[in-house]
């Protein structure tokens, strides 16, 4: 039995993490994998740190990723990436949207934003792919598609081809957003291809 793959999505409530994790989950299911995904709703969604945990393999039991076992960390906000350092291992792939969203203590002027937060990851020899997902999404025609740019950038690390994702965007995304999401996906994929 192949080992279970673990994808950790991180960011801030409202960044489109749920859609990104759904597209990825459907792609894995299309490829014949079993999968489980864990989300947190309620209090945690009001602008706080959020994660989605996606696991796939022949048969998935636990919906939660163990610390030290995330194969991919896909982060939608710069400093939130570093929050999940204990989930990484030496071979983890880390993909980061370089957008910065100030947490309350930074917005209030009490402390500075930790602009070098990714150093805590690269210091351990883990490679980090930085993606200016907002700019890329804007060029594709819609800043809100930044999450799909990120899915595209991650797609080269997963065992499914482009056609699988295109099929999912065509069937799962409302028609008026399809075109721009397909473009955003392709632009994201180009970064890591």
């Amino acid at each position: 039995m192949a080992a279970t793959g673990n994808i950790l999505f991180s960011g801030v409530g409202g960044q489109g993490i749920l859609l990104a994790s759904e597209i990825t989950a459907y792609a894995l299911l299309s490829a014949g994998y079993d999968a489980k995904k864990s989300e947190v709703h309620g209090m945690a969604q009001r602008g706080g740190s959020v994660t989605a945990q996606l696991r796939y393999g022949d048969k998935v039991y636990s919906p939660l990723i163990e610390p030290g076992k995330a194969d991919i960390l896909i982060s939608f906000e710069l400093m939130e990436t570093a929050r999940y350092l204990p989930y990484l291992h030496k071979e983890s792939k880390v993909i980061v949207n370089t957008q910065q969203i100030k947490p309350p203590a930074v917005a209030n002027g009490q402390i500075d934003y930790p602009v070098n937060a990714l150093d805590s990851i690269t210091d351990h020899g883990i490679k980090v792919v930085r993606v200016d997902a907002f700019d890329i999404a804007r060029d594709a025609g819609e800043v809100k598609a930044a999450n799909v740019v990120m899915v595209g950038a991650m797609s080269t690390f997963l065992p499914m081809g482009v056609a699988v994702y295109e099929e999912i965007i065509n069937t799962r995304v409302p028609e008026r957003f399809r075109e721009v999401n397909l473009k955003a996906f392709a632009a994201g994929r180009k970064i890591t291809d």
Partner: protein, 600 residues
């Protein structure tokens, strides 16, 4: 995934199972992690669904439907079962006509709750069977079985899920439609349904006989199964903990309990006899462990496995095999990112004013507005349970006497007021309280994700419904001073609060403005406010609102001079145009003409 398979959350799967089971009436009060069950069930044809004002009401509605001979469902979060406990303990005696299932969604780790009570204890205390699935697919299958069991044994069935079932997605199979074995209609069975002492004593015996029958069912392996494996260590487990055991110790022998009450004593003893060492793995209380030990079976459990918070594979493995722990990268030192009230949230206007009243005790309640506790507002001094804001302030007023005059404010949302705030208000009037009640009426149950409530004017499906008029209700129970304010008008809000505190009688202030996440507000044309940064004096009045759309840009003295500010100015405020919802609270606070509506 085949064509019969769906990718669904546990709550979506449970809603589908309720539909397939032939549920005709379902009632509940929103509460994380249970909320999406009712939301999803309301989309199916042929099922009557409603949001009840609280869980006791919801359960009683479901009991009524069961007495009328249809399958009925009540949903609640763990703490909701405390509210519903009164009917729960007696419906155990009456039994059912149509199948009745009561879902409790527990929240180990308190992701969105004020405590992490383990509601398996209710099954023991109320003498009811409890089923406990491990994942969405099993939840779907098991809920349908729960309705059959309910009718077969004439018993309400408790169904326990946790956050990692409710909010986990997995592959779920579509199933066959079922229907109740009972007939819908009025059937008078006073010996069964009228629980006055003489009749209840008879039903009390029935409950014990039923528990014996249930134990036989548990022994027969309908819900429980042994998975053979390495007998050096054996595991007894249930719910989501089963999944962690399967990953941490894939080779081990496991007794998986799908029915966590009553327990199959013979099966447990037989399983224990086959293994060298027995571990009981369960989240929260040593519920199984205590009952298994009471059978005289030696086992280990909470001596090594935490009794607080969620478990996961790593915790289970490390608890049992401490030597197996792999070294992890240390956590990075980062600022916290707690949840916050949204940009434009009407609650902020009230809490900003409360934050200035340092000698006032703010008795808080459960909802988005509990976030008023967090800095920079830090304007909540207690929060216990739904409705307790009103009653705790009253209790303090009686304890403090004159020393509490003008210093006690309770703060409650519209939905929480409907839930259990009204009774407290009646008590405050009846027993002549000397405190002020602020009702934060944002027209919706916001924290759980925008559910309608009796004051919203819409039902669960979003159709027009009778709306309770909060001010008339307050007047009807005898409140003489009721004032409605717009919380975005910071200064008017301050005046209303001060006036209410100064009065010699109980006063209610209704802070009324819709939640910014309501679709009609979110999709309405929004004209944001912008900072004229050149006018900003760096006073931070707006920053102290704690609005996520407002941030502080620090400056060095050189920066300040270069940008044309006074050398001693330490920074300036900036409004993020995309995030701003145009509420105007910051505009009302700015004395330097540095904030203006876009285009004005």
């Amino acid at each position: 995934m085949n064509t019969n398979s769906l990718w669904m959350s546990g709550n979506e799967a449970i809603a589908m199972a309720a539909y397939e089971a032939g549920v005709k009436v379902a009632s509940g009060y929103p509460g994380t992690p249970s909320t999406e069950i009712m939301e999803n069930l309301s989309k199916y044809e042929g099922v009557y669904t409603e949001w009840a004002p609280n869980e006791k009401v919801g359960l009683e509605v479901a009991i009524g439907a069961s007495f009328a001979g249809v399958r009925a469902l009540a949903t609640m979060k763990h703490v909701g079962m405390n509210v519903a406990a009164d009917p729960l303990f007696t419906v155990s005696y009456t039994g059912v006509r149509g199948g009745l299932v009561i879902i409790t969604a527990d929240d180990p780790e308190m992701h969105s709750s004020q405590n992490e009570q383990d509601n398996r204890n209710y099954a023991y205390a109320a003498k009811l069977p409890m089923l406990e699935p491990s994942d969405p697919a099993e939840a779907k299958k098991m809920l349908k079985e729960a309705f059959e069991l309910s009718e077969r044994l004439d018993t309400p069935v408790l169904f326990r899920i946790t956050t990692r079932i409710s909010h986990v997605k997995g592959i779920v199979e579509k199933g066959e439609m079922m229907h109740s074995q009972a007939e819908c209609g009025i059937e008078k069975s006073p010996a069964k349904f009228v629980m006055l002492p003489a009749l209840a004593r008879n039903r009390r015996k029935v409950v014990e006989e039923r528990m014996i029958e249930l134990t036989t069912i548990a022994e027969n392996g309908e819900y429980n199964r042994i998975e053979e494996g390495d007998t050096k260590r054996g595991f007894i487990t249930s719910g989501v903990s089963y999944l962690y055991v399967k990953e941490a110790f894939p080779e081990a022998a496991v007794l998986k309990l799908g029915m966590c009450w009553p327990l199959p004593e013979n099966e447990i003893k037989a399983f224990a006899a086959t293994v060298d060492e027995l571990f009981v793995v369960e989240e929260l209380d040593p519920f199984l462990e205590h009952h298994i030990k009471a059978m005289g079976v030696a086992c280990r459990g909470k001596d090594c496995i935490p009794n607080q918070g969620e478990l996961n594979t790593a915790i289970v493995r490390a608890s049992i095999d401490p030597d197996s722990v792999a070294e992890l990268f240390p956590p990075a030192d980062l600022p916290m990112r707690p949840p916050n009230m949204c940009a434009g949230c009407p609650h902020r206007g009230v809490f900003f004013n409360l934050s200035k009243m340092k000698d006032v005790f703010v008795s808080g309640d459960i909802g988005c507005y509990t976030l008023g506790f967090l800095p920079p507002l830090s304007a909540m001094d207690s929060c216990v349970c739904m409705g307790a804001s009103v009653t705790i302030a009253h209790g303090m007023s009686k304890a403090l006497g004159d020393a509490g005059k003008g210093k006690l404010i309770s703060v409650i949302g519209d939905s929480t007021f409907m839930h259990t705030g009204i009774n407290g208000l009646i008590n405050s009037i009846y027993n002549d309280s000397n405190s002020v009640l602020v009702i934060l009426d944002n027209r919706i149950t916001a924290m759980t994700g925008q559910q309608n409530n009796p004051a919203s004017g819409c039902n669960i499906k979003g159709e027009a419904a009778n709306a309770i008029n909060i001010e008339k209700l307050c007047e009807a129970v005898g409140v003489k001073h009721v004032e409605v304010v717009n919380p975005h008008d910071i200064n008017a809000c301050k005046t209303a609060l001060k006036k209410a505190l100064e009065l010699d009688e109980y006063a209610v202030v209704i802070s009324r403005a819709p939640c910014v996440l309501l679709p009609e507000i979110k999709n309405a044309e929004n004209i944001p406010y912008l900072t004229a940064t050149e006018n900003c004096s760096g006073c931070k009045a707006c920053v102290k609102l704690g609005c996520p759309a407002i941030s502080w840009t620090p400056m060095t003295p050189e920066d300040a001079v270069a940008k044309g500010y006074k050398e001693k100015q330490k920074g300036y405020a900036v409004i993020n145009e995309v995030q701003c919802n145009g509420c105007g609270q910051c505009f009302a606070l700015c004395k330097f003409d540095a904030i203006n509506r876009k285009g004005e």
